[in-house]
């Protein structure tokens, strides 16, 4: 790999871990270069101004350079204004970060995912929109990485009928069935990302869970198990 130098790249931090005495290794989602691994040197020292900025869910611009897969962060700035996630929304933020980490390969550019991610974060800060924000992001992410759901036609290439019901599997997609879990009406609404009907949200959650789990190759999402364990009576993801 040749030396790359990137300036003021819009980015979000997905994950970070401590590295050596004073540094961090950061997994960032950049607008133009996809997921990037960065080392932020010396930021864990007392009174480091950078450490406070290097947090998930904050819109940043990053500058970095390097020859290897692990780049060196040279500058980071906040893009104001931004809303800090609170309470349950933080956990939802961890969930979408994990989705991005699992479904996006490193250095695979996805400006579309970046845009969906940014929009999802801003919707998450409104508690009443959490479910809608998560389902929309899940659908858009699956579309972007090539696992998009065929919501217009069923397995037998018949147009989805709003009055019928369907089963869903990752292998076959939608199959019409009298006892199907998902109504044609819901599937059509999902195509339009229209979540005004509460029933659509309920069915969408089950559908997306089945779809996502099917693509995880038996390795479950940590954040999902976590959220399920700690917030047993909370309905959101």
């Amino acid at each position: 790999m040749t030396e790359t130098a990137v300036y003021l790249q819009p980015a979000f931090i997905l994950q970070q871990r401590k590295f050596k005495e004073t540094s961090l290794i950061i997994d960032a989602l950049t607008r133009d270069f996809g997921r990037v691994s960065l080392v932020a040197k010396g930021v864990r020292k007392a009174r480091s101004k950078t450490a406070g900025l290097l947090q998930p869910f904050i819109p940043l611009t990053m500058s970095y350079l390097g020859k290897t897969e692990l780049k060196t962060l040279t500058d980071v700035e906040i893009i104001p204004p931004f809303v800090q996630l609170q309470g349950i929304a933080i956990y939802c933020g961890f969930y979408i970060n994990e989705l991005v980490c699992r479904f996006l390969h490193q250095y695979d550019p996805h400006p579309d995912v970046f845009a969906h991610y940014r929009k999802c974060l801003s919707c998450l800060s409104d508690t009443s929109k959490i479910e809608t924000a998560l389902r929309t992001f899940e659908l858009d992410l699956m579309d972007a990485v090539g696992y998009g759901l065929q919501l217009e036609y069923d397995f037998h290439n018949q147009k989805i009928n709003p009055l019928k019901k369907y089963h869903f599997s990752v292998e076959q997609g939608l199959i019409e069935a009298l006892d199907g879990q998902f109504s044609g009406k819901t599937l059509q609404a999902l195509k339009l990302r229209d979540f005004t009907d509460a029933q659509v949200l309920v069915e969408a959650k089950i559908l997306m869970r089945t779809a996502i789990t099917g693509h995880l190759q038996g390795k479950p999402l940590k954040s999902r198990a976590f959220i399920k364990n700690i917030i047993k009576d909370y309905k959101n993801e």
């Binding site: 450490a51 406070g52 947090q55 933080i90 969930y95 994990e98 980490c101 954040s223 917030i231």
Partner: protein, 198 residues
């Protein structure tokens, strides 16, 4: 310089200390053997004893060689107000600032959905037991002002709510992403005075 044998191993082992690189480790090792063999022996013995005897306080989980730490055993302190911190070092910093006369509860970490650190790893089952007894009237959530620290505070706040215990979060003064260990006591007292209900 040869790095084999016990001396090499010692140098390597010293590198596990924060702030100690190979150069410093080498200097330490040579100092111990050339100038202060007695000190080295004392250090080794104390270290062994400490590792053997120091554990977690059964009430607050801070480091102590007794079953109950000095703070929990001190009857002049207010046991109905409990300050939740991520590490024993954080509790120690707050003690230094002398702004708090209640008890502590040490998590030894923070909730990390992606790192696989859950409530049990932080001893929150123990905290919940104490909340259930009704002996605690207020929790002060002094986890770091990082995203994971906030997520942890939120979770413990919910736990407190479940048991009708008032929970407040230290707010002003702690810079975003700031780690308590590095904050001066003036800022800290500001943070304590500005705490608000979650």
């Amino acid at each position: 310089m040869q790095k084999k044998g016990l001396l090499g191993q010692l140098i390597q082992n010293l590198c596990c200390l924060p702030g100690v690189g190979p150069k410093t480790a080498q200097r330490m090792a040579f100092h111990l053997f050339q100038r202060d063999r007695n000190g080295a022996k004392l250090l080794a013995e104390t270290l062994l004893q400490a590792i053997d005897k120091i554990g977690y306080c059964r009430q607050c989980r801070t480091l102590t060689e007794d079953s109950l730490c000095d703070i929990c055993a001190d009857s002049s302190r207010d046991s109905s107000v409990v300050c939740i911190v991520e590490s024993p070092a954080d509790a120690w910093v707050i003690e230094q600032a002398a702004i708090f006369k209640g008890h502590y509860f040490v998590l030894h970490g923070r909730l990390s959905p992606l790192g696989g650190i859950g409530p049990d790893e932080l001893g929150l089952d123990l905290l919940e037991q104490r909340l259930r007894t009704g002996a605690i009237k207020e929790l002060i959530l002094a986890t770091n002002s990082t995203v994971e620290g906030e997520a942890t505070a939120y979770f413990i706040g919910e736990l407190a709510g479940k048991h009708q215990v008032l929970a407040s979060r230290i707010a002003h003064g702690v810079p975003m992403g700031g780690e308590l260990e590095f904050i001066d006591s003036g800022t800290l007292s500001h943070a304590f005075n500005g705490r608000k209900e979650v």
